[in-house]
Symmetry: C2
Subunit: 157 residues, 2 copies
Amino acid sequence: MSDLEVIVEPGRQDIVVRRGFDAPREVVFRAMTEPDLVARWWGLKDSETRVDRSDIRPGGTWRVVERMPNGEEHAFRGVVHDVTAPGYFVRTFEYEGMPGHVMLETHRLESDGDRTLYTAQSVFQSVEDRDGMVASGMESGMAESMGALDEVIASLV
Amino acid sequence: MSDLEVIVEPGRQDIVVRRGFDAPREVVFRAMTEPDLVARWWGLKDSETRVDRSDIRPGGTWRVVERMPNGEEHAFRGVVHDVTAPGYFVRTFEYEGMPGHVMLETHRLESDGDRTLYTAQSVFQSVEDRDGMVASGMESGMAESMGALDEVIASLV
């Protein structure tokens, strides 16, 4: 049973996601940032994900393309503001299908015995942008991706 | 008389700044981004500003250091998410004295005849971070910087 929490408070401009993973944070960090590993868990079950770039250092750029079963492609990209492996990275996030709407994501990994507690905060330019993301089915998509991430992590330990 | 507007709505996580400049946006954009020009207007009147980096392209990094009359230095840094000169740039912003508190800034320059209308939005990770920025005297500091920016711009046209 996953302990995924998605916190969306009325009127705020952010979403906070919390989840535990059954592995040390070094492993979770790798799975969240290395291109070959990200491609294995990002996106919906039936889509195919390709990681064009995942350069996790300040000023590094990242781009992920999700190819849907009908052939449509959805691309996401941003830059890395800061990183302190394996506990912290901050980056921007933009869906290329809605250019000009940018988010700031802060990812934290904390050790809890053999487990890792993951907290991600996404800050949006407006409440409307945030609510649009929630309405797009973000929570179920994230639950699916995090489940796939569990499998990637299990293959690494 | 400056038309500076600083919009801080209760409970939101952002600040919006609007101001007009008496020059075409190509000139305003240069003054806002070129290192030698930024050093001339950034910060308080009695401080000395040095621009370590101002690499305005996606993934470019920037860093500005303000040296106060008493010798204290305050440094600010971030990365550029996106830029479309001379109308748009998005970057992150972090005051090195409060590490881990990051903002997302969106800057827009619109032509209005011979003038330029500038709109900047800063999104904070929390309402508290935003209110702290406001309480630090941000509005009067910004009015001072924008006045100095007027002079830099006037020297370019």
